[in-house]
């Protein structure tokens, strides 16, 4: 993707790029959070036909599927609010697909939501 053209700061493309960078930075922060707590990072941005899992890590017998949501301000609510019922259902399906494709047999799957607001990361463990 090309860098934003001068004078087009508010264009659709420029905003999409800014948003992608924000998301990428948020995922880095969340990955650091898990690493600092001794989790093993298994995958980042694992994709399949169903969609994408932001972070997959494990801690002993527990497989953690983490959705990272980043926002630069809470003008439209805190980031974690954006993980609605449809998104939760999608993550459950993705987790099932991940487990079967990787042929791993975790004792337990945990779904976390990492909420990144203006560079501050908050992880809701076992969010749903």
């Amino acid at each position: 993707m090309s860098p934003p053209r001068p004078g087009a700061a508010g264009s659709r493309r420029a905003r999409a790029v800014a948003s992608r960078d924000l998301g990428r930075a948020g995922e880095d922060l969340a990955a650091d959070w898990y690493a600092a707590r001794g989790y093993a990072l298994l995958d980042r941005n694992w994709r399949c036909a169903l969609g994408e899992i932001d972070l997959v890590c494990s801690s002993g017998p527990v497989l953690v599927v983490c959705e990272v949501k980043s926002r630069s301000s809470d003008r439209f609510g805190v980031p974690a609010e954006a993980v609605g019922a449809a998104k939760q259902l999608r993550l459950r399906r993705l987790a099932a697909r991940y487990v079967s494709e990787r042929c791993i047999h975790p004792v337990r799957v945990r779904f976390d939501v990492a909420s990144v607001l203006a560079g501050e990361v908050t992880v809701l463990t076992a969010a749903f």
């Binding site: 609510g77 805190v78 974690a80 609010e81 993980v83 939501v113 809701l124 076992a126 969010a127 749903f128």
Partner: protein, 509 residues
């Protein structure tokens, strides 16, 4: 953290205590309400959240669960909004739990954080088992009618929060301004002095008021039946304090405005239109069991104009409540006993064209007349002690100079007669038990022979005899005759039943 608050919900004309539990925990931001809320109650989610934000309070971006206990009871309406909002303040540590321990909260929230009044505040405050009650400013006057509670009023969620955190004192809420809506719901009661002529009907109203006898007025259009009925509340004795409170409680539960001066001593007068549905008349509804016209008239007069036009199904529903003085409304989820102590006054035309009572003027065929009068069933007809024919006043009465007796004078006689009835242990003579009639209505010789002649002619049944004796007792009370019921009293009682012929004649009984 968890918070538990007291509130109440309305069922019929009674409040039921409700405990509002609010749990705020870590998790995805969510707000769920459980515990059988109805649609309006479930929508508290969106109102409470908007009110929080509008009041400048931080919305907890955490998992919020609200439970309304007991969970088997259906919670109706928006009256629990304030309790839920305050519960959130406690659960998020904004307000000290000790402050709200002995306090109940009632009120609906607006999106701007303002507090709106709730229907049935009187009953709700009574139901909450708390020393203090916080309610919306417009409901304060009503809530203060309940003795033994300290009532705190507020206009908005921000005011409630400021007072609970001790930042500001509770606002002083005075008596509301007497608005046009609250001033006398039924309008002024007409005076009997303005009714011209109609000697028999006037006596019938006086007897009805004094003895609590149900009246059916039968006459052509324009005879003044409606006018006469509307005079009745002015003849009845003023309501005693507990009865006035009961009337206020029913009005409040129906969501009607109360008089700003407190419970009114004037007996209620309700005149539902004949398109009235069964539930609107006796009360009901699927969740809240709202009181109907019958309960709103309790303690006063229920006037059914054009009785023959009411669907049979609707008026037949009145039979049992008229006997019991209350009606038990039962639905799948709950049941409620609603008051139904009314003086029933009904008016009807004698036939479809309305001219039936004037000789030769009626254009209806006998079959039409029979069909019309048959709409009022014999069991219902039996509930009326007085069936009075009302004819159009004569030209002489209409233009005559002399004014009739005013309501005030009649009311004095009625009050005196009611006092005599109370001494017998009943509210009014209509409630006298059959087995006490012989003792309480001793008949003079003339009265006895008059009645036996009627019975012998087959014009009076055993049940009819009891009714005539009760009415005659009332007439004697009005005349100041303490002991025996005289022939003139019985004669008048029989005359006040003459309208029965209109119905029975057509049935060939």
């Amino acid at each position: 953290m968890i918070a538990s608050l007291r509130s109440a919900t309305l069922l019929g004309v009674e409040g039921r205590p409700v405990t509002v539990e609010v749990h705020v925990s870590v998790g995805l931001p969510a707000f769920t309400i459980v515990g059988l809320p109805d649609a309006a109650c479930r929508e508290a989610r969106d109102r409470v959240r908007a009110a929080f934000v509008s009041s400048g309070l931080a919305w907890p971006a955490r998992r919020v669960t609200v439970n309304l206990a007991p969970s088997s009871l259906r919670k109706a309406g928006a009256g629990l909004d304030l309790a839920i909002a305050v519960g959130l303040l406690v659960a998020t540590g904004e307000v000290d739990p000790g402050v709200v321990r002995d306090c109940a909260f009632l009120g609906e929230l607006g999106l701007d954080g303002s507090l709106r009044p709730v229907a049935g505040a009187l009953a709700l405050v009574d139901a909450t088992q708390a020393r203090a009650v916080v309610c919306p400013a417009p409901s304060v006057a009503e809530a203060r009618l309940v003795p033994g509670r300290s009532v705190l009023g507020a206009r908005s969620l921000a005011e409630v929060r400021a007072a609970l955190t001790g930042r500001e004192p509770w606002p002083e809420i005075g008596a509301p301004e007497p608005g046009p809506a609250a001033a006398g719901a039924a309008g002024p009661v007409p005076d009997l002095a303005s009714v011209r002529g109609q000697e028999v009907a006037r006596r019938a109203l006086e007897v009805a008021a004094a003895g609590g006898h149900h009246v059916l007025l039968v006459g052509p259009p324009g005879a003044g039946k409606t006018m006469l009925a509307r005079c009745l509340p002015g003849l009845l004795p003023a309501l005693a304090a507990p009865d006035a409170l009961e009337v206020a409680r029913v009005r409040s539960a129906a969501g009607l405005a109360l008089s700003p001066l407190g419970p009114t001593a004037l007996p209620p007068f309700r005149a539902p239109h004949h398109s009235c549905s069964p539930v609107a008349l006796v009360g009901g509804g699927s969740t809240q069991l709202r009181p109907g016209e019958l309960s709103l008239a309790s303690g006063g007069v229920l006037f059914l104009d054009e009785l023959g036009e009411f669907p049979t199904r609707v008026i037949e529903m009145l039979r049992q409540p008229l006997e019991d003085g209350s009606v038990l409304v039962t639905r799948a989820g709950a049941s409620a006993r609603l008051p139904a102590r009314v003086l029933l006054v009904a008016a009807t035309n004698p036939c479809p064209c309305g001219e039936g009572s004037e000789r030769g003027a009626c254009r209806c065929s006998p079959a039409m007349r029979a069909r019309y009068t048959r709409r009022i069933s014999a069991p219902l007809l039996d509930r009326f002690d007085l069936l009075v024919r009302v004819d159009r006043p004569s030209l002489r009465d209409l233009l005559g100079g002399e004014s009739a007796e005013p309501s005030r004078a009649v009311a004095r006689r009625v009050a005196e007669a009611r006092r005599r009835a109370t001494a017998r242990g009943v509210r009014a003579n209509a409630e006298l038990a059959d087995d006490r009639l012989e003792e309480l209505t001793p008949l003079a010789a003339g009265a006895r022979s008059l009645l036996s002649a009627r019975i012998a002619a087959g014009e009076l049944s055993a049940r009819g005899l009891g009714r005539v004796r009760r009415v005659a007792r009332t007439i004697a009370d009005l005349a100041g005759a303490d002991e025996e019921v005289g022939a003139e009293h019985v004669a008048l009682a029989l005359e006040l039943r003459a309208g029965r012929a209109v119905f029975l004649g057509e049935r060939g009984e």
